[in-house]
Amino acid sequence: MEYLLKAENVSKSYGNFTALNNVTIEVPKGSIFGLLGPNGAGKTTLIRIINQITMPDSGKVFLDGETLQPHHIQNIGYLPEERGLYKSMKVGEQCVYLAQLKGLSKVEAKKRLKYWFERLEIGDWWNKKIQELSKGMAQKIQFVVTVLHEPKLLIFDEPFSGFDPINANLIKDEILKLRDDGATIIFSTHRMESVEEMCDHIALINKSNKILDGKLIDIKRAYQSNTFEVGLLTDDKTAVTTALKERFDLQPASFKSINDELQYKIKIPQNVAPNELVSFLTSKGQLNHFVEVIPSANDIFIETVQKN
């Protein structure tokens, strides 16, 4: 697999505090890479190192095979979590200025801004000052500024904060479209449902260490536990429960049902096929509900962090 960004054995400490300890991540080209972790884990430090805001104490970062250099900032678009715009500057001027800092010419910047403003339906804001805009409107401008110079690598830190659900969806679609157009995206968030929806790869950082990384599907597979959620309608609940307990690992479950039935999470050993469980259950009564329990990104996050 081809990687757009590689961070190798990156460490960074502030005085006595270690923010990152020997962290290695590899971001495949054209993927959406979820950078996850609890608050204060070191995600932002890593992002800042990639953006050359701070330098790592040790370790190296490569962008497209080259050691990270100042001119690479043109290839990176960064939407920080802590964000704002010059309050007293007009929207249009401000966007042009920020685009120029990223190496675009004035003419080119104006052309692209026109496209984006039309796309996001913000055309008439050009001469407004930021302080006249609502927070959500300002967020849209920030998104445009981040992607305007068409960087190879986009880094979004909590991109949906401050958006209403409609606009959040709009931005989500834009991010997916950018990925489809060939950009690589690093995505840092605490909203696990968006990770589930969008990310192909994830890395989990906790207490300055990377504790998990890989393709989201692979990770889920690894966290698969052969557990099934079952709803069984039977006359003799006690007898069936005893019989089940003898053969399987039972955990209580509760889900909505119109029947008064037995509800369990049943874990089967590796050597037992799910079908065996099904035939066992159907011999005992009416099987109304049978679902494999797939760990959600949320579960994996909580479990891994707590285990750590």
Partner: protein, 435 residues
């Protein structure tokens, strides 16, 4: 890719377009000229009243010595007693009553003259009266002792040492004075500039943090470029405003003089009178000051003035920028303000005390190399003749320190943004440098 011109341009345009900046640019000269016009008007009103002073001269010697002026009229009384005269004055609303008694000997007058008035009289009135009486009494005493007053004036000797350097350049006391004035004026101009525009730079550096755009900017430009751009852009805006002020004040004060009819000719006459009174043998003195200015190494001075002024301003501006870099909001800046101005105040004092005493003394020399004081002290020394290489070293040190501080400020800035919401202490600042 060069960001610096972009940043400078944005800072400049942003400052110049700012509403409060525009308002201040036009309002300040108005207020300035307004206050002067007001003061001028008030003092003219104050002096407008013609004061009538009654004089009861029992000695009979002074009758012709009190001449009326525009603001003072003398009313010579005679043939009445002091009590009567007092009563007369109390009712008339006159300014006061001067009583010169008849004494046995004329010298006794020095102690026995009395001025009666409702309120205590103004100093200028009293001293004028005293002068009149003094002259008369002095003249009388000289006459009594058979001394010819005009002879004394003739025989008076004024000693004037000619000053000449070994190379044959003539110097003079007045020249030294002129030289000091030059350095002092440069120092005060710098001082004013820093006080007015230093804060502006600091606020400009804090701007990114308060608007939370800092991470977006810092992921595009190096902090040192950002800070340099801010210092230069804001300074240019400052220069623009300063020039606007000078122009506006000149225009306004001309207009005000025309409208309010303060006659420039009268003022000139007044000035000439003052010069004539102030200096005995005045044309000579004026000539000396003029020639002192002529003998100054003008080209050297102008170049060095520009270099030191710009360098000195940038140096202090970078200190303000460093403070801005260290804090999150303007309220946190108080603790750092005083230490910044101290060296500058020191420089002005060192300049005036040691350079006057000995322009090439060891203290003056040392302080003309220290970058925080050199802009003032070196400028004061240059008119007294400082070798070019020394001047160059001093300028180089100055600009190098400026760049050093900007570098240092950039370092603080980079670390500072990673620590939102913490008020830095000096100890922490030193720690940040190691990051």
């Amino acid at each position: 890719m060069n960001h610096l011109p972009l940043i400078i341009k944005r800072e400049y345009i942003n400052k110049v377009r700012n509403k409060s900046f525009i308002i201040m640019t036009f309002l300040s000269p108005l207020i300035f000229v307004g206050i002067f016009a007001l003061v001028g008007y008030l003092s003219s009103v104050n002096n407008d009243k013609v004061r009538t002073i009654s004089v009861l001269d029992e000695s009979g010697m002074f009758a012709s010595d009190f001449e009326d002026t525009d603001t003072q009229k003398f009313n010579i009384l005679s043939g009445i007693t002091l009590e009567e005269a007092k009563k007369l004055n109390e009712d008339s609303g006159n300014y006061g009553l001067l009583h010169i008694p008849k004494t046995l000997h004329i010298t006794d007058l020095a102690k026995q003259t009395t001025f009666y008035s409702e309120e205590s009289p103004s100093l200028s009135v009293i001293s004028k009266i005293e002068n009149n009486i003094e002259d008369k009494v002095n003249g009388a005493i000289l006459k009594e002792n058979n001394i010819d007053a005009s002879r004394i004036e003739e025989l008076r000797v004024i000693v004037e040492t000619r000053q000449e350097s070994f190379k044959g350049e003539e110097t003079s006391k007045e020249g030294s004075f002129a030289k000091l004035i030059f350095g002092g004026a440069a120092g005060y101009l710098l001082f004013m500039f820093i006080i007015i525009y230093g804060n502006m730079i600091m606020r400009s550096v804090i701007e990114e943090k308060t608007s939370r755009i800092v991470e977006i900017i810092i992921s595009s430009v190096k902090p040192i470029k950002l800070l340099l751009g801010k210092i230069i852009g804001t300074s240019l805006a400052g220069v623009t405003q300063f020039v606007a002020w000078v122009v506006l004040i000149t225009i306004l004060s001309t207009v005000v003089t025309l409208i309010f009819g303060i006659d420039p000719a009268a003022m000139q006459a007044q000035q000439q009178e003052m010069i004539a009174q102030g200096a005995t043998g005045s044309p000579d003195m004026a000539m000396k000051i003029y020639s002192a200015y002529e003998s100054l190494p003008l080209i050297n001075l102008i170049i060095m003035f520009l270099l030191f002024f710009i360098g000195g301003y940038l140096l202090y501006a970078s200190l303000y920028a460093a403070i801005g870099a260290a804090v999150d909001s303007e309220t946190d800046t108080q603790q750092f303000m005083l230490p910044i101005l101290m060296p500058l105040i020191l420089a002005v004092y060192v300049g005036f005390f040691t350079v006057i005493e000995n322009p090439h003394g060891i203290v003056a020399q040392i302080f003309s190399y220290i970058p925080f004081t050199s802009p003032v002290v070196m400028l004061m020394r240059i008119p007294f003749g400082v070798p070019i290489w020394q001047q160059i070293i001093s300028v180089v040190i100055l600009f190098a320190t400026f760049m050093g501080i900007v570098w240092f400020a950039a370092k603080i800035y980079r670390v500072g943004i990673l620590m939102y919401g913490k008020k830095p202490t000096y100890k922490e600042l030193i720690k940040w440098l190691k990051y």
